[in-house]
């Protein structure tokens, strides 16, 4: 059954859903990013030189780390809230904790990537 909402893209982007909506959108972007990563991974396994080069490209890896790690950490939050629904009362605080964890993990990952790439 098709949706009849007919919400335009600009209206969707301007929707003021707060932090929960932001995590929802970023989770989708992260999922799509990881699907692209999976495709590149399988093609590089097949031995395609261009895909192997892409797997070693720092810009591609930065993109994957930023959005992929968010998907992983946000997925963990969603799973925790699914298992313990009573925590939904504190979802704003939990999202704040999630951002702190994400900043720490992504910061470390990007630091290691940039050190390896530009650190001589």
């Amino acid at each position: 059954m098709g949706s009849n909402r007919n919400i335009s893209l600009p209206a969707g982007i301007m929707y003021k859903g707060g932090p929960a909506f932001l995590t929802y959108m970023l989770h989708r972007v992260g999922g799509a990013t990881l699907f692209i990563f999976f495709t590149v991974y399988v093609l590089s396994l097949l031995g395609l030189g261009s895909m192997r080069a892409l797997m070693n490209n720092w810009l591609f890896l930065t993109f994957i780390l930023i959005f992929g790690l968010f998907h992983v950490i946000n997925g963990l939050r969603i799973s925790i809230l699914d298992l313990w629904p009573k925590l939904m009362l504190h979802y704003r605080s939990i999202i704040q904790v999630e951002w702190i964890v994400y900043a720490a993990v992504a910061g470390c990952a990007l630091f290691l990537l940039f050190t390896r790439t530009f650190g001589g």
Partner: protein
Amino acid sequence: MTPRTLPIKKRGFSFEVFMWAFTRFTVFAMYGLILAGIFGALIVSSKTGAGFGDILYWAFFPTLAENPLGQIGMTVLAKLMVISLTLVACGHGVHGVLEIWDDYVTNEGARRWARNIVITYAVAASIIAVYVILSA
């Protein structure tokens, strides 16, 4: 205000409930496999003297790196873990991509075509990944 939740017994067994459970199952399987992979690589690294990073790099890119383990038992175990992670991630990803697609595309025909294409792609990619990892 208390959160509104429906007990699992009262949710029935529709396609949506099945896919919700499938997505959650694959998520937990992935977290478990990632943790098992990290701890396994640490244990093997300490036993064999091979580098932790080298083990993980070889496990995921067996065609690009030399096998640092040597022992057949550990090699098979590592390959099985990577194959499991790849298959579970693929299953999880297929559902995610289709959910996003269904949200933005309302045409029934387009939805059906996308479903067929994405599932075919996932099966083909999984077969390729399993074959390459096993044969490397």
